[in-house]
């Protein structure tokens, strides 16, 4: 084949062909260059006078005017992020012959710390010699006064006014609004240079980051006249910038504050959502930090303190913290049982205190020694009867179970308007195959039924799921920003937030059953884990507690230590709730990282959030307090002290060895 092809080739002919082509190519190139010369003749000879004149008169330069960043308000117009005038010291490197000596000298006039100098030197390397570089941000009045007197000693340095971001509520909104930070070299590669000309800050986290595009605005420019040294003489023409859009959060600062206070500094998170539209009413992660520290560059000392603090204040627990959900998944599972036709409300299960898989020696426990007896769905939710849900999970099977739970966004993103949401883990055959390269065991399905076995959710996911449940299954994605506004005097434009699909609930009667079960958790009397939480509240509350173990249990023995501090070190406490039960307007999820029991420790936090919400309802809220239906209810003060049911303990596989996940409960 090869020889045939060779024989076809005609070296002499090819050489001649190439010679012709090379000459033709060169001819074309010369023509092209002549065309280019033609254009230069046109510019340099024919239009020379015109351009020479323009060059002489070329004293006008456009200078970008950065736009004001959009403000951020809460739902009632309380200012949460604002721009305040400040002054900074800037240096034009070109005009400073000896930078080291200059910094030493100016340091004796305006105190500079090492952070200022490091940041300045870094930016110095990245910018052009004629561009001014900020040396110190947020000068104090003293700094300005001292510099003014000594100004003559420092050619090239100047005090320049600018707008800086301020967060009046400090730590309260750090995990929601986030903060802005100085634009660095990495950002510059990615940003539109025209849009960000003259802008020094960009959203780094939270709303500031996810709404950067809306908040930023469009720069304007002014034509300035410069002299022969390139110095500005006067401004001739001004095209003002268009400021960024103002944002209105759906959060109510009063609920937010009450939520944060309710934690009393104990690490945890809470999210409250309006089930009617997905609007987030409160979102806190405790502890928090002061976002103002980050705006003009955080000092090394402050940053180290934040990153090394034991309870990680920078960690957004509401958005990124993942915890086993424990018993809080039971109402969702029960709803799945009804919707998928696996259970009818009246179907009963006998709880004996121990549940064994057929043909297996291992067994799983109920919370209570001896079990809860015969329970139907409502009672199983009220008493958090493990056996009922072990069996339900088995009957659904892991595939249907995780398929159903996935519709509540477990194991996925809720779609909130913030970056960096964790997906948590929704146990499934596929997930386990991908992560452990192992098949799924039926025992794991049993544990999945009580929110254990790999299962991990974020407080946001659970709040979202609770809101979807409370809202009769309408899947509204959680939203923090409810409206935007072009300027202070213009009307707010609401941001639409359509549900992501049709309702998850096909039969309204299914919802009624779950609603009844969750109300029984609060008002069900003896054995109800949320007992007393509805006292004195004008609306009916529906809720569910959850207590998940932080560590895997090694022994089969029931824990006899009832000391709260001891248990708090072992458990994570959850509480989910919504109200008014008949037509829910707020759904909350609370997690306390170190809480002994869901109902006793996380429950009161949820109640305080609902109280704060109630206070914001004004005249719409009924004054009268309806009496609870069942029995004598202790006064609210008694709640936290009321003894828990005996043996109200996490379930444990009766013969250990099953994966790391462990028991659950009330």
């Amino acid at each position: 084949m090869r020889t045939v092809r060779r024989s076809l080739k005609d070296p002499r002919g090819e050489s001649a062909l190439f010679r012709r082509r090379a000459l033709a190519g060169f001819g074309l190139i010369v023509l092209g260059l002549l065309a280019l010369v033609g254009r230069y003749v046109q510019l340099q000879v024919m239009r020379h006078d015109e351009f020479a004149l323009r060059s002489e008169a070329n004293r006008l330069k456009p200078r970008a005017i950065p736009p004001g960043r959009g403000l951020i308000y809460d739902r009632n117009g309380v200012l949460l992020a604002d721009n305040v005038p400040a002054f900074r010291l800037e240096v034009v490197p070109e005009q400073v012959p000896d930078m080291d000596a200059f910094l030493r000298e100016i340091g004796s006039v305006v105190p500079l710390d090492q952070d200022d100098i490091d940041a300045f030197r870094k930016q110095l390397r990245q910018s052009r010699r004629f561009d001014s570089v900020p040396l110190k941000l947020r000068l104090t009045e003293d700094d300005i006064a001292r510099f003014a007197i000594n100004r003559w000693r420092f050619p090239g340095a100047d005090v320049v006014p600018y707008l800086t971001r301020r967060y009046p509520y400090g730590p309260l909104f750090a995990h929601v609004i986030g903060y802005v930070g100085r634009i660095d070299a990495d950002d510059q590669d990615k940003l539109d240079p025209v849009r960000y000309k003259g802008t020094s800050h960009i959203g780094r986290s939270g709303i500031e980051r996810s709404y950067e595009d809306a908040l930023h605005g469009t720069p304007g420019y002014e034509l300035v006249e410069v002299n022969v040294d390139g110095r500005t003489q006067r401004v001739l023409e001004r095209h003002p910038p268009a400021p960024g859009r103002n944002l209105y959060l759906s959060i109510d600062v009063r609920i937010q504050r009450a939520a944060e206070a309710a934690f009393e500094g104990r690490p945890g998170a809470a999210v409250a959502i309006d089930p009617r539209n997905g609007q987030v009413l409160a979102m806190v992660s405790v502890p928090s930090f002061d976002p103002n520290l980050f705006v003009n560059g955080i000092s090394h000392a402050d940053y180290t303190a934040l990153t090394t603090a034991e309870d990680k204040p920078l960690y957004n627990r509401a958005l990124r913290g993942v915890y086993p959900p424990g018993s809080t998944v039971k109402p969702f599972l029960a709803l799945g049982g009804l919707e998928l036709g696996v259970r009818r409300p009246q179907d009963t299960v006998l709880s004996t205190g121990e549940f064994c898989l057929p043909n297996q020696s291992r067994c799983y426990r109920d919370d209570k020694r001896g079990g809860d007896g015969t329970v139907n769905m409502v009672r199983a939710i009220q008493l958090s009867t493990n056996t009922y849900f072990y069996k339900l999970a088995l009957d659904m099977g892991i595939d249907r179970l995780s398929g159903w739970m996935g519709r509540f966004s477990f194991g996925g993103r809720t779609g909130i308007d913030l970056d960096g949401e964790s997906t948590g883990i929704l146990p499934s055959r596929e997930w386990k195959a991908a992560h452990y390269k192992q098949p799924w065991f039926p025992g794991e399905t049993v544990l999945t039924g009580i929110g254990q076995a790999y299962w991990a959710v974020t407080p946001l996911q659970l709040a979202h799921a609770t809101a979807v449940l409370a809202g009769h299954g309408m899947p509204y994605p959680p939203r923090l920003v409810m409206a935007t506004q072009a300027g202070v005097d213009t009307p707010r434009q609401p941001l639409p937030n359509p549900p992501t699909g049709p309702s998850l609930i096909a039969r309204p009667s299914d919802w009624d059953v779950i609603n009844e079960g969750m109300q029984a958790v609060i008002y069900g009397g003896a054995g109800a884990t949320g007992r007393g939480l509805g006292d004195g509240f004008p609306y009916r509350i529906a809720g569910k507690s959850g207590t998940a173990e932080r560590y895997s249990r090694r022994t089969e023995a029931y824990d006899t230590n009832k000391n709260s501090a001891y248990l708090a070190a072992r458990h994570r406490a959850w509480f989910i709730a919504y109200t008014p039960a008949e037509a829910p307007k707020i759904a909350v999820a609370v997690v306390l990282e170190a809480g002994a029991w869901g109902g006793k420790d996380a429950g009161p936090i949820a109640r305080k959030i609902l109280d704060a919400w109630l206070a914001t309802q004004g005249d719409q809220a009924p004054k009268a307090t309806p009496l609870p239906e069942q029995g004598a209810i202790p006064a609210p003060g008694d709640v936290t002290e009321s003894p828990l049911p005996e043996d109200d303990l996490p379930a444990v596989p009766a013969s250990g060895g099953e994966p790391a996940a462990a028991g659950s409960t009330p």
Binding site: A22, I29, Q44, H48, N58, F130
Partner: protein, 375 residues
């Protein structure tokens, strides 16, 4: 003892010198042309960069590195280069894919970080592309038919599309042109060229929809520079003022007011030719363009002298793509073509392009050294 050592050294040196002069591995006229060009570049850079010797020194160091690579590559016989070609092409295209994957969702992304240095894989294609086309056409019957044209088209299109997607339209254009020239030099029939160009012209309105907004803006700004006073429109206006005000004889070295007063952005890189035009006028422009023409002509001469098809096509394509740099950059500076990132070869400040250009000339030197001998 020492005497003999000095003697042997002396003899060896003389032998080397004689060999270099009688049968030099490098083509002296081409080397002289490149040297002159590099000097012109440094002189202009000194002025455009506000007499910053550090800038000029850095660029000179890159030229030195480029020259070393040129000498190194000139020692590799074209036959060896040919045997490496498919691997070099595949390797560089693979790196483009790596960049595309790493750069997912990161805006303009062209660099590959090797820890010690960063480089743009697209720069490699400027050389491996014409090599590959020449390699493919080498054993085939020329002029090429539709089948071969289609294959070459594909060889060009894949990397060019990857580069255009980065997005780096300028480099994509240079790479595609280098491949296209090889095809042209292989003797692709004129009517076929006409047909293909016609088809391309017909596709332009469609391609418009696939351009990035900023790329469209660049073309639109060309038509109405006043519409974009902070961005490209400003470049175009100020660059034309620089060129036009230079006149026939120019304002003189270091007398460019446009760059000195910071009216002209990027005056050491993509727009350095505007400073050159302002300072040296039409006379300077003509002289520099003549120098470029000489270098391109010399490349084509070396190509004609080459021993085989591969060498001929490769040498010719490298020479002709040099023209694309000059034409696109010169046109852009004069407000005739849109603003794309194509440097004025060996004059614009910037390391990668200088080094890759000189490496390409190393290939030419090698081809020259292995030319067919006249009998």
């Amino acid at each position: 003892m020492i005497d003999t050592l000095v003697e042997t050294l002396h003899v060896r040196l003389r032998r080397l010198l004689r060999r270099l002069l009688t049968r030099p591995r490098i083509d002296l006229p081409l080397a002289a042309g490149l040297f002159l060009l590099a000097c012109a570049g440094l002189v202009t850079l000194y002025s455009a960069g506000d007499a910053d010797l550090g800038l000029v020194g850095g660029q000179a160091a890159r030229f030195a590195m480029g020259a070393a690579l040129l000498l190194l590559v000139s020692r590799i016989p074209p036959a060896v280069l040919r045997s490496w070609t498919p691997w070099l092409y595949l390797g560089s295209t693979f790196l483009l894919v790596v960049v595309a994957v790493l750069g997912e969702g990161r805006g303009a992304y062209r660099w590959l970080d090797l820890g010690v240095m960063r480089f743009q894989p697209s720069e490699l294609l400027k050389l491996t592309m014409p090599m590959m086309v020449a390699w493919y056409l080498h054993p085939r019957q020329l002029p090429p038919g539709w089948k071969d044209i289609a294959v070459v088209g594909l060889l060009i299109a894949v990397p060019a599309a990857l580069i255009a997607k980065q997005p780096d339209l300028g480099t994509a254009l240079l790479v595609a042109a280098a491949g296209g020239f090889a095809l042209f030099l292989a003797g692709m029939a004129w009517w076929r060229i006409g047909l293909l160009l016609g088809a391309v012209a017909a596709v332009v309105p469609v391609a418009w929809h696939f351009l990035h907004q900023y790329q469209r803006d660049r073309v639109l700004t060309l038509l109405n520079p006043e519409s974009d006073p902070l961005g490209n429109g400003w470049h175009i206006i100020q660059s034309q003022i620089a060129v036009g005000s230079g006149g026939v004889f120019g304002k003189g070295w270091q007398h460019s007011t446009q760059s000195r007063l910071e009216f002209l952005p990027e005056h050491t890189t993509d727009f350095i030719f505007a400073v050159f035009s302002e300072e040296f006028g039409l006379v300077g422009v003509c002289a520099l363009l003549a120098l470029y023409a000489f270098i391109i002509g010399r490349c084509l001469w070396i190509a004609m002298e080459a021993r085989d098809t591969y060498s001929r096509l490769l040498a010719g394509a490298i020479g002709m793509s040099f023209f694309v740099y000059v034409f696109v950059n010169g046109g852009m500076v004069a407000g005739m073509l849109p603003v794309v990132g194509v440097p004025m070869p060996l004059v614009s400040y910037g390391g990668t392009s200088a080094v890759s250009l000189l490496t390409g000339f190393g290939v030419l030197m090698s081809i020259h050294a292995h030319r067919k001998m006249h009998d």
